[in-house]
Chain length 236, copies 2
Amino acid sequence: MRLDLFEADYPDIRELHLFSEMADAQFMKLMRGAYVQNFPPRIELITEGDSSDFLHIVLSGSVDLFSTWNGRETSMSTAWPVSTFILAATIRDAPYLMSARTLEKSRIALIPSRDVRAVFDADQRFARAIVSDLAQCYRSVVKAQKNLKLRSSLERLANYLLQQQKQSGSAKGFDLRFEKRRIASMLGMTPENLSRAFKALRPYGVSIDGSHVRIADLEDLKRFAKPDPLIDDSAT
Amino acid sequence: MRLDLFEADYPDIRELHLFSEMADAQFMKLMRGAYVQNFPPRIELITEGDSSDFLHIVLSGSVDLFSTWNGRETSMSTAWPVSTFILAATIRDAPYLMSARTLEKSRIALIPSRDVRAVFDADQRFARAIVSDLAQCYRSVVKAQKNLKLRSSLERLANYLLQQQKQSGSAKGFDLRFEKRRIASMLGMTPENLSRAFKALRPYGVSIDGSHVRIADLEDLKRFAKPDPLIDDSAT
DNA sequence: CGCTATGTTGATCCATATCAATAAGTGTGG
DNA sequence: CCACACTTATTGATATGGATCAACATAGCG
């Protein structure tokens, strides 16, 4: 299971802000028990309800965090390189609340949860980084919940597109980064409804061709979407 | 503003698991800059978007955490004695994502956020407690989101009633702890819809008289509600 | 190339919101 | 203590957002 080339990943992990400030000795202590593995797409890495033995880190690729109940399933969020997931379960030594599957070919590092908790107590800066990370995760979910409870699906899509547009940097047009099916699930709607929602945004200058989106007039769409930093900004 | 009797609250605050393990000196450092105030009902304590200068602690009464967007409003959660709120904003020194108002006459302690961050770095046990608290908060919101995305409003109500029944401890029957208007908002529905939802649960043995709820057969309701520890248990 | 999963479109159904009217509390000041 | 105002809860009628079901098109992919 353990790969010889793992050391090659140290710099990537080290620069993750969770690990960037900590003492070398403590970092190595974490790495000693860790291992890295490559996974093909669509592999279920963890299942909700399982005990949280490892903190996971996405080194490359991407991971879908989703949940199920009574035969239904929904996408909760996406983990990108380089970031951790299920940090909260690791901290509390509690069962996972979400399942995780690779979206594409992905490289994942696993650090024994026990080591994370031990090093937390031994390294001030690591503790500071963990709490900061966790607080950010918390705030992200709160924003997601506000998004769900205060907006219609059309408003959620409009704001999602504005976010994506912003992230892409390009003046006009960007590609959707996921299957529409998954975007629909993330936004809390069905694929059929998403398909119609795109059309419903046409009067506001949104046009879509396959996975390519163009927004004719940002201000026009913003007037409808009413983006709010306390819901839509990922940073704050 | 500062009350002479504040010292009387020390034991209550001290026994909050966030503060129970820390060194005396550090605890006093936190208390030195803190103060306590009594508020009448329905007073807005903080407004979303404001900068987070104080960590708040509910000593008695209760506090509604809510959010607004585009003229709409929704209840996100409730803070009870003795617990903190807006810990995440304090940690990250970021603006509040939620507003807070007293539900009833309440006694609130305020600790300067700067002090919290300073003592975090100085006291191992306090750091450990904060991270644990925060992880629990995070997991609560994730559960709330699963509840919203995976269940219909009728299913949410059914599970809410099962939770309340369990908490009440009594064999049959308990009183709703909030106005129905607020329960509706918490569950992400309108008051009218809640009113009808109660009736729709009658076939499963739920009867309501004012704010008093009786569940004829728990198993019957559970068969419909399908409660799930990964959504409904507050502890895990 | 054909298979399978994804996306689109249309028809319909259902859950939930909205609007409106009324009833029942709850608190206030005379 | 009562009358009044005001908020909350209920109920009915209706509208609508969004889900579901079904058919078909399309795009990846072995």
